[in-house]
Each structure stands twice: as structure tokens, then as C-alpha cells.
Symmetry: D5
Subunit: 163 residues, 10 copies
Amino acid sequence: MPERNDIENLSHLGQEETSYTFHYDSSLLETFENGHPNRDYFVKFNCPEFTTLCPKTGQPDFAALYISYIPEVHMVESKSLKLYLFSFRNHGGFHEDAINTIVNDLVELMNPRYLEVLGRFTPRGGISIDPYANYGRPGTKYEQMAETRLLYHDMYPENINNR
Amino acid sequence: MPERNDIENLSHLGQEETSYTFHYDSSLLETFENGHPNRDYFVKFNCPEFTTLCPKTGQPDFAALYISYIPEVHMVESKSLKLYLFSFRNHGGFHEDAINTIVNDLVELMNPRYLEVLGRFTPRGGISIDPYANYGRPGTKYEQMAETRLLYHDMYPENINNR
Amino acid sequence: MPERNDIENLSHLGQEETSYTFHYDSSLLETFENGHPNRDYFVKFNCPEFTTLCPKTGQPDFAALYISYIPEVHMVESKSLKLYLFSFRNHGGFHEDAINTIVNDLVELMNPRYLEVLGRFTPRGGISIDPYANYGRPGTKYEQMAETRLLYHDMYPENINNR
Amino acid sequence: MPERNDIENLSHLGQEETSYTFHYDSSLLETFENGHPNRDYFVKFNCPEFTTLCPKTGQPDFAALYISYIPEVHMVESKSLKLYLFSFRNHGGFHEDAINTIVNDLVELMNPRYLEVLGRFTPRGGISIDPYANYGRPGTKYEQMAETRLLYHDMYPENINNR
Amino acid sequence: MPERNDIENLSHLGQEETSYTFHYDSSLLETFENGHPNRDYFVKFNCPEFTTLCPKTGQPDFAALYISYIPEVHMVESKSLKLYLFSFRNHGGFHEDAINTIVNDLVELMNPRYLEVLGRFTPRGGISIDPYANYGRPGTKYEQMAETRLLYHDMYPENINNR
Amino acid sequence: MPERNDIENLSHLGQEETSYTFHYDSSLLETFENGHPNRDYFVKFNCPEFTTLCPKTGQPDFAALYISYIPEVHMVESKSLKLYLFSFRNHGGFHEDAINTIVNDLVELMNPRYLEVLGRFTPRGGISIDPYANYGRPGTKYEQMAETRLLYHDMYPENINNR
Amino acid sequence: MPERNDIENLSHLGQEETSYTFHYDSSLLETFENGHPNRDYFVKFNCPEFTTLCPKTGQPDFAALYISYIPEVHMVESKSLKLYLFSFRNHGGFHEDAINTIVNDLVELMNPRYLEVLGRFTPRGGISIDPYANYGRPGTKYEQMAETRLLYHDMYPENINNR
Amino acid sequence: MPERNDIENLSHLGQEETSYTFHYDSSLLETFENGHPNRDYFVKFNCPEFTTLCPKTGQPDFAALYISYIPEVHMVESKSLKLYLFSFRNHGGFHEDAINTIVNDLVELMNPRYLEVLGRFTPRGGISIDPYANYGRPGTKYEQMAETRLLYHDMYPENINNR
Amino acid sequence: MPERNDIENLSHLGQEETSYTFHYDSSLLETFENGHPNRDYFVKFNCPEFTTLCPKTGQPDFAALYISYIPEVHMVESKSLKLYLFSFRNHGGFHEDAINTIVNDLVELMNPRYLEVLGRFTPRGGISIDPYANYGRPGTKYEQMAETRLLYHDMYPENINNR
Amino acid sequence: MPERNDIENLSHLGQEETSYTFHYDSSLLETFENGHPNRDYFVKFNCPEFTTLCPKTGQPDFAALYISYIPEVHMVESKSLKLYLFSFRNHGGFHEDAINTIVNDLVELMNPRYLEVLGRFTPRGGISIDPYANYGRPGTKYEQMAETRLLYHDMYPENINNR
Ligand SMILES: [Ca+2]
Ligand SMILES: [Ca+2]
Ligand SMILES: [Ca+2]
Ligand SMILES: [Ca+2]
Ligand SMILES: [Ca+2]
Ligand SMILES: [Ca+2]
Ligand SMILES: [Ca+2]
Ligand SMILES: [Ca+2]
Ligand SMILES: [Ca+2]
Ligand SMILES: [Ca+2]
Ligand SMILES: [Ca+2]
Ligand SMILES: [Ca+2]
Ligand SMILES: [Ca+2]
Ligand SMILES: [Ca+2]
Ligand SMILES: [Ca+2]
Ligand SMILES: [Ca+2]
């Protein structure tokens, strides 16, 4: 297995006195270097503890987020991702804005080949909302990949009975 | 994250004295502006509390609706969608008419790039009915998208035992 | 198997032009005679399509009801039970009032040895409510049965994630 | 393991030209001898393929039956039980009559220490019915066993959504 | 929503004295007119209460049927479909013959653009059989659709443990 | 059904401009009057959106809470319960302290006959914690009820694999 | 429905004195004639009771087999398939050899258009093995079908926790 | 943790050249010494790979066995238990005879305080059989334990649909 | 909510440079003070990542542990519990020895009123083992509680198919 | 079925005194010869007992691995695969490094036509990570196969709630 020389640069991982920020702050995100840049492969983060505030009513919304990407040079470090997602906690925003913002921030951070974010929010008024957005690097085959995956997105909607 | 200036125009969201209409009324639907019009992305509404009346027998029918779309300029506001769906409550209609009507109303409202509606109804006489209809804007790649998604629709029918 | 002579007296079962009432009306309930009065046994009705209106906000609430009882002389006919439950459709009432009302009406109708009603309602504002009430004929062992079943009610709350 | 001498007396098991009777006939039931009469133990039959006709409307009803008992001398042979249950196929009867009839027939056949029958029927008109009846030999501790099992019957009604 | 003028022509729906035929009779099937002929959309019937007789042994077989189609002018009325499926009840036939017969009858009845039937039968001797057949109108793109859906049919066989 | 005269006194239900407090405040709780005080019955609240902060690390914890009680005179209003639970959002506390605090606050508020609170928290470091506390009014049979329910609490721990 | 004239030729179906062979014997397989040779359709056999012996250690292995095919002229009779699969019972063989052998034997027997076999074996030493092999008639479109189905085989591996 | 001195006496565990016997042989069972004889505790074996032959038809039957006991001095070693269960593989016996035989053999082997065996067999002819037998050492409180556990056995029969 | 003064004494919680010990060491366990000593309540730890070594073969075994207790003065701190459980990682021991050792260590550490430990291990050779042990403080009602919970332990063995 | 001549060369299978290495060692892997080299087919290993150490914090991580491949000449022997995976037990490495290393080692060992590895890890800090990497032999159609399977990888992320 390859030796990792860059883990010492990570400021959050294994840090004792982590301070949690609860207002949106994309500067919390950190990266390390991909050890396998010549191979296309996926990394998925399952993040079931996402919460934010409704911009109109101020009440909390809850979601599970699923973030998948194909790295090139930079990879987002998972503890910094956790802190970044916690920074939405007291921030107001619509469901689809949160998902698009996360796509934009992670694309800017990592310049990945491909990336997608799915949110499954808990219901408000008997209806729940699941936004999904993705990105493929423009001018590459990954741009077409994004289009193809959007084309076939969620053709089997899970059964939801609000119980 | 982008600032939203248009949420003040929504007449239902956070409204105290919401009045519920129980006869079909598509004018209940309201929109707000898509903050990410340059990106194709999906928004899905899970609506498990849909109910209408059988036009012949007058007895209630129940369904879970799943509405997915790719917005362009306009997006349906979720509380107005809830009121619109409640307006079917005392209205008579066949299952597939309800689904096609919802597709037509939402297409007219939002002029989306793509939209689909799936209904899973509870059984009557030992048989349940699941209609599915979709729409892609004519003359665009989304028209082909609708055809492709219909082609591959529901190739894994869920096991139903009426229990 | 015993011959049933009383099914001709049932006014709803197999009736062509059933008319549905959507305002609370306990007179819709009908009974037939228990063919096995010397044996204590249970009959359970699973009723997943119960809906009523919130008395304050006017919006629909949805629930699955589970009604179980030990008959003596009279048994509630299932189609009349359906019509009775539909009569709550446009009626306003709190969750626990609906369940207690159903207990009271069915006890008055059938004078059963034992009866219980459980409701599982869909969430409002992120919280769902499950009322449970039961009845044992006073002065009999069934009164103690009701107390025992309440004592051990729902010691394994089902996992609810609002998805 | 004990040698079984009585399996040659079974007329149905392994029989080539089984003829199936589709009208109620309890004489189809056959027994063999319990090889372990000094031990109280349970045998349960899971019978998911039960069907009968509604006495009023003539339409088929479907159920899964669960039959459990503690044998003394006689045990019901499973293929004869299958033939007996098939004999309800074109017979009319209410749900609770079928369950009580099966209890009565099996008690008469085997004179067991304890026996119970549960039916889970598919819904008609949005409501499904689950009857449960049991028996303990009168004047023995099994009579008290039947009462205790009825007392605690089905305190966790399964979630039914008619899908 | 469109007004339906043709529901008066349906002879089974809401009929009081429905008589059930238990020998195969495709003339029971009735149609009504598709209100949305310009849109390709799917209607699926979940039919978990199918039963027929084994032509060799005479014993009942049980299955859940899943029927999906894209209508053009005619749509099968669901209560007539129920009666038609019940007419297999005392009819003998192999599993795959039943499924092919249903495809043929429904194609002849409706002349649909596309249609498919899946059966999931309960096991006999430790093995269960699931036939699947489909149809696309010859000489149209739906013929190719049928071929494509057959090509990708059931690539994820569900886990079956016979329990 | 009984008329409710007290719903006008509820300050939160149906309120337009709800303001959410995110620091612990038990004064948010409100009650209404039990309409069925002569019957012992259960009301359960399923609350899957509970979140608080770890007092040591400051990071958010998430839980589903299940609150069940038998009312006497006062019943907690569900929207006020929601606001009360939201008030833990930015408050620090150990898992078992939160559950005991909720028991204490609800007992003081309602003086119920019986009450219990179960929390199912998401894991930290590969271990998740599920506290459970209950209360029966001292000197009554409900005190014994609390002891009995604790005695038999959770004898079937659900399978947890942290996925 | 078509009349079947060939069921009299089947030597196993409905046979009283079936003798079971427990050493591999492909001559047990029998066929009947496909009644629908002009239509491409699938028949799937779910066979959860497969067992064989490890050639090295001699201990039993267990699997569920899933066999799917598109018939042309000949179809394998299900009881003969059961006997054939039982013939592996005391035979030694690696998992993937068993699956390939079954493919070869059934192809030789039926000369089908397409055929595939999936095995899900129980674990040995904490690891379970799932072999999958398929066949399309060479020089036809079914050869390409086999390649396509292999290309997309099992892209959603089921969660296995060995419990 | 206590040191184990007796594991060297086990003849099967870790043995290279294990030979498997496929005819019933209770002498395969071996024991080791309980390290915690002063505490009553349970050990459960989950054995999903049990198979035997029908004494009448000769065809294989399959079951999952669940064996639970409270040890005193001797504990059955799990590999020897595996070999013992494999020895039923080519042996004929009724379902309830197998379960009673296993109870008898393990009681004789270990002289446990308490022991129980449950079998869940796969269906034959649409019906599956689940025998359950238990044992408590006569003249001790464990005899009463066996009676109590039989009294409350399987009050929630699992849903079986033969799929 | 009560203030906690003792969290500063915990040496592991929030510690930066945690060192993990992989050989059994019960001195890793730490406690804090129960803030609610006058109430009997349960705390459960779900620990799905337990692993140890087989003392005979040296190969890893895996289990999910479920630890429940009623505290009096001392409560085990969850991060120290994690470290303690990790210390079994390279330690050899039989399944039931591990469970009994954990009971003994936690009883000595906390002197709780009641405590129980359940292990669900992954299978070896097709059989999995689930030990369960509990403790009630001798001479108190909790001793009887332990006996009662053992009496009713696991009367519904979960279905295990080794997949 | 084909005779296997090469199983004698396997050094681990059926070996009595297996010694387990807990530091990464790819030389543990062994192969045997594919008996069906002319057919493309899949073999999948389900490996739910994978564990390694975090390179930064030293704490154990846990995962289920799913390894699928199409063999040509060489096939990895499953017991040697088990030993190889155990060799990660005390080795430090990031999740995605482990998965890429396993891909590299198995490709070097077997020179397969196609191979893929999926890992599902348990959460750390509320987030779990699922890496997926694959390989198709360069310059063949399998290289395109790898690209296609990556393109469609995991379009239905499973619901994760960390419970
Ligand atoms: Ca839900
Ligand atoms: Ca539910
Ligand atoms: Ca259902
Ligand atoms: Ca069910
Ligand atoms: Ca649960
Ligand atoms: Ca969900
Ligand atoms: Ca469903
Ligand atoms: Ca099943
Ligand atoms: Ca099962
Ligand atoms: Ca999964
Ligand atoms: Ca499990
Ligand atoms: Ca199924
Ligand atoms: Ca499993
Ligand atoms: Ca499985
Ligand atoms: Ca989870
Ligand atoms: Ca889980």
C-alpha cells in the first residue's frame, strides 16, 4: 500500500479541541492528495445528520445527504466535510439551494472529474423533498457522464408513507 | 449561498390562516424563481397523502404520489403544491386522469425542462393501480429524455401482497 | 360450517348504489350475530385509509387504524364500519378524540367483551401521534384484561424516521 | 430416532393420483400417532394459500393461515391438512366462521392439548380482517393456557398500508 | 380535469349483483376510452390474488401478477380485469401458458402500444416459477421497446428462501 | 364527538409567525384539557428530529425520541412540544440527561398518570446510546406500572450495524 | 388457452413413487414443448434448496439458485429440474463449477435462445461466493444479449452481514 | 478472562482432516467445561443449513434450527454440533421427530439446566412446518421455566407468503 | 437541565492523542457520576464493531454487542467503553467467555443495579452463536429482575439464513 | 462435471494449523486454474468482516467488501483471500487506499478480464465512506466494460440513517 505523507497537513483529523461553527462557512473544507490519480474511482460520503433552518419560518429542516465523486488531484478530507456540513446548522436556505451550494463548494475545492449530491429531507406538511444535482468537468467525457446519470436518475422512487 | 429575494411573494408559505379547498383548483399553485437555472438538476416531491373520490361509486381512493422535475425558470412552491393536491380530496376522477391532470397543470405552471408523476394507489377489489406519466419539453433533448425514461420505467415491479 | 341466516339484513354489504357520507355519523354502523358466542376469540380490522380534518387548521390528517375486539352477541359488519370511518373524512377532531369516539361508538353498538383501537397518524411538523385506547366490560374479567393490555402496551416503539 | 410404523396408513402422503375436492369436507383430515406424547411441544403449520368465497358476493377471499397446536395422541398429517384447506376453495363463509370451523374440526380430529388458528385476510374495500381463535382442553391447565394466550394476543399489530 | 362520458357503459363497475365466473372466459374483459391518447404513459395493475389449477395434478397454484401497458385508444376496466382473472380459478394450465394467454387476450382487447405481464408463483416441491412475457405493436417503435425490456428483464433476481 | 372549547387558548398551534428558540426553555410547553379523563389511554409522540450539542466536544448529536403517556387532566399540545424539543438544539447535554430532563419537565407540566421517554441516538465512535426513563405517579398503581415496564424494557434489542 | 398434449409424456410430474438420486445425473432432466415458440419470453426458476459437497473438505455447501431462460422449442419440466438439482446433493464440486455445469446441461437439453444461472452460497470462513454464468445462442442476437447482461450484472451488490 | 485448559481435548475444532458422516450419529457430539457455572446464562446456536430426508417420499427437507440452552457443567462444542447436525443429511425422519431427537440427544449429552430447539422448515405442497420443543431439568425451577416458555411460545407468527 | 461538573475528569472523551490498546485491559474503563440516582432508568450501548480472536485457531471473530444497565452511582463513560472493547481485538477467547468477562468487568466498575450483555456473532462453519448473560445486585429486587429477564430471554429467535 | 486436478496445490484450503497474519501481506494470495476459460462469467465474494486501522488516529475501522471479477486463467482461492484480507487487520490505511490496493493486488495475482471492489465502511463522526474502484484489461472490451460500470455505479444510494 502507498505511504501517505500528507496526512500531517490535515488540521481537523484527530484534533483535540475541535470548535464547531454553526453558520455557513465553506473555508472549513480541506483536502489531501489522491494517491491513485490514474484510476477513475468513486468515493461516496453518507451524511445522515444534516440540518439547516427554513429561511422563511426559521424552523429546522433535516436531511440525509449522499455525496459521490471521482477525484483527480484533490480529495476532501472527511472530518473537514463534517465541520462544513455542521456549518449549515443555523443557516437559512431552501432545500435545493443547499444541495446546489454544496455541489459548487466541493467542485471549487477539489476540481473533481465528477461529483453528485443527493438530499433526502424529512417532510413538512406531509410532503418531503429530495433534490439531486451533479457536475462533470466541462469539455471532458465526465460532462457527458453527468448528463447520462441525470437522465437515469431515480427511476425507482422509494416508497414513502411518512411513517 | 445565494440570497433569495422572492420568498416574500409566496402567499401560502408560513401563512397563519391557511384555508383548505377540497375541490379541484389548479389556481392554488404558485411558483418561485430557480436560483440555479444554468444547471440541470432534479427536485422530487414525495406526497403520500393524496386522496380523491371514485367518479362512479363515490368512495375515497388513496395514493402516494411521486413528482420529479428538472426546473428552468419557475419552481413550484411546496406548500402551494400541498394545497393543490388537497383540492382533489372531494373531486371525482379515475386514477390515470388524476396523474395526467397533475402533469398538465405542473407543465403549464412551470414550463419545466422535464417532469414525471407516479401514483401508487391502494387496492380496490384486490387490484391496485399505479399510473406513471412524464413530459419532456418538445423539440429539446428533454423530449428524448422522457421517451427514454418511459422505455425503462418500472422494470422491477415491487412485490405487492395486499397486506 | 354454520349456516348464516342474518346476512340478508345487512343493508350495505353488496349494495350497488352505496352513498358515502363524509360527516361524522355513528348511525351508519350495523351488526350481525356472532355464530360462536361460547368462544372468546379476536377479530381485528386493519383500516389504513382513515382521514379527518384538523379542527384548528382545517388541513387533512391521515392515519392507519387497528381495531380489535372479542365479540359476544353482536359483531360490526365490515362494510358499515368502512362507511362509518369514511364519515370522519370532512369532520374536525383531535387525534385522541377520534380514537376515543370510535371506542365509545363500537362499545355502544356491539356491547363487546373487549375492544381496543390504535391509531398511527402521519407527522405534522416532524412529530407523529399514535393514540391507543381500550375497553373491557366493567365488572367482568375483561375489565382486568383491558388494564393488563394497557399496562404492556407498545413496549417496543417502532422506528420512525419520517421517511 | 424413533422408528415410525404408522406412515403406511396415511392415504394422501406420497399418493400419485391425489384428487382435490373444492367443497368443504372435514373428512379429508387424517392423523398419525405422536411419537413423543410425554412431552408438551408445539407444531405450527404456515398455510399462505388459503382461499374461500364470500357467502354474500360470491367473490374469492384470500388469506394466510397459521395453525399451532400441542399434540397428545393424534397429529394431523400435513398433506391431508392441505387437502382439507383446499376444500374451502369454492365454499362460501365469513372470515371468522372459517377460522372457528377449522378450530372445531381439528379439535375433533386430534383432541389436542392446545390449538390456535390465526387468519390474515387480504383487504376488501380498504379494510382487512384478521380473526384469531384458540382452544385448551377443558378442565386442564391448557384451558388456562388458551385464556392467557388470548389475553396477550397481538399486542403489536403489524403495520398495514394496503400496498 | 377531463369529464368522463363513458363510465356509464361499464357493466361491472359499481354493479350490485356481480356474478363471478370461475372458468376461463376472456369475454368478461371490458374497455373504456383513453382520455390522454396523445401521451405515452404507463398503467400498472398489481394483482396478488391470482389462482389456477395444475393441469396434471389438479391442485391449486397461486401467483401475484403484475400487468403494465401503454394504452392507445382502449383501456381495460379494472373490475372487468378482476373478473377475467378470477375466471382462471378453476381452470387448469401451466404457469407460462397462463401468462402468455393473458398477454394475448389483453392485446386483442385493447390493441395497446405496449404491454407486459409478470407472474410470481408460489413454490411446488421447493421450486417457484416466475414467467414474464411482453408485447410491442409490430412495425412500431414499441416493438423495439418490447425487445429492449426483455433484454434487461430481471437482472436482480429477488432473494427467495421459501420462508 | 366531544366539542373542544380550549383550542383557542393554544398559543402555538396554527400561529403564523412562530419564533423558534434554540436554547433549552421548558416554558415553551403548553397544555390543553383531556376530554376523556375517566379512561386510561396512551398517547405516543414519535419525534425523529431531535438534536442537541455534546457538552464536552460541542458537536451535534442526533436522536429519535419516543414519548408515551397516560393523561389525567392536562395534555401537552404537540406544536408546543415541537418548540420545546427544538429548544435543545444549541444546548449542551449528555444523552441520559436530556431524556431525564424531558421526563421531569413533562411530569411537572401535565401531572400524568404515567409517562416514558426513549431516545435512540446516532453513533459516536462506533457506539450508539439508547436511554430510557419512565414515571408512574407515586402512591398509585401507575408507580407499579412504571416498575413493571422497566422490568421488561427492550428485551429484544434491535440489530444495529451502523449502516 | 392452448391445450397441452404432451404432459402425459412427463415421467416425474405427479408420479407416486419418485426415487431421488443424490449423485450428479444430468439424464434426470426432461422437457416438454413450448406452446408459444414465436414469442420471446422469460421463465425463471427460484431454487433455494440447492446443496452439494465441498470436493476438498467433504462438508456440505448450501445455495439458492436462480435459473432464467428464453425457450425456443423445448422447456425443462420443473419436477425433473428438482430431481436433477437434488442429484448434486452428495456430489463434490466447487461453486463456480456447479453453476457452469448447470448452464451446460440445460443448454444441451433445451437448446434455448438465452439462459443464465446465478448462485448465492452461504458463507464459509466469513466469505460467501456468488457465481453467475450465462449463455446466448452463438451467431444470433441472443449471443449479444448474453454479453450485455454480463456487462451490467449485479451493479448493486446486496448488503451481506453474515447474519 | 479465564484461561481455558480443556480446548485441547476437543477432537473436531481446528482438525484438518474432518470426515463428515451423513447418517444419524449422536456420538459425534462433544463437550467442554462451562467456565461460568455459577451464573445462569443463555447460549444460542443459529443453524440455517439443516437438511434431512422425508421418510415416506425420500426427498430432501430443509430447515433452519435455533438451539438455546442454559449450561451447568458441560457445554456442547460447536463444531461437533455441526457434524452431528450434518449426520441427519441422508437420514429419514419427520420434522417433529428430528426436533425431539435433537432435544433428547443434547439433554443426555450436557445435562443442561434448560434447553430448547426450534425448526423452521421450507414448504412442501404450499405448507411449511415449524416444530418447537423444550426441556427444563425435572424437579428444579427450570422445569417451570420450560412450561412458561411453552405457554408464551410464538405468539407473533411471522408472515409467510412462500416467496 | 442539571449542570455536569465531572466531565473534566474523563481522560478519554475529546482527547486528541488517543492510544488504542489491542490486548484485553479492563483498566481502560472509566466512570462518571449518575445525575439521576433516585430514578431507575436504562442506558443501552449498541456496539456493532466488536472483534476478538479464536483461542484455538487464531482467526478473528466478529460480533455486535448490546449492553444495557440501570445505574446507581457510577456510569461507564462511552469512549472508555469503546477503548475497552477494542482491547479484545487481539485477545483470544470463546464467545461466551467474552460476554461473561464483560459482565464481570462492568459490574465491578459500576456496581450497577442491573446489567446485561448480548452478543450476536458471525457464523463459523455455518453456525453462529449468540450468548446472553445478565446480573442483578444480589439481595435486591434487581436480582429477581435478572432471573425474570433470563426466563423470557429471546423467545422470538430472529431468522438467520447466513446471507 | 469437470474433474479438478489442482486442488492439491492449494496451501490454505482445509489446512489444520492455519496461521493468521495481521500485517498487510499480499503474498498470502493463491490461485487455482479456471475450469471454464472460454466463457465469460462472474464470481463475487461477499466479505463482511474486513477491518483495518486508521493511519492517523490508530482506531479500528470496519467495512463490508464486495469483490467481483471475470476470470481468465487464474482464480483466487477463497481461503487465501480470507487470510489476505485479515492481513489488513493491524495495518493503517485510508479507506480508498485499501480498496485501490486490493484491486491492484488481485489484478497482479490473477490477470483477470474484469475486476471490481466496493467497500461499505461504518461511520466515523456521523459520516460513512463507500469507495468503489474497478479494472478492465487494457486494450480489450473489458476496459470499456470498466468505464461503463463506473458510469452507472450506485445510481440508487441506499438509505443510511446511522442506526
Ligand atoms: Ca417512514
Ligand atoms: Ca408504517
Ligand atoms: Ca402491503
Ligand atoms: Ca404483512
Ligand atoms: Ca425497530
Ligand atoms: Ca427512507
Ligand atoms: Ca409498497
Ligand atoms: Ca418467503
Ligand atoms: Ca422467514
Ligand atoms: Ca443495500
Ligand atoms: Ca441480523
Ligand atoms: Ca417476494
Ligand atoms: Ca443474513
Ligand atoms: Ca440475502
Ligand atoms: Ca444505519
Ligand atoms: Ca443499521
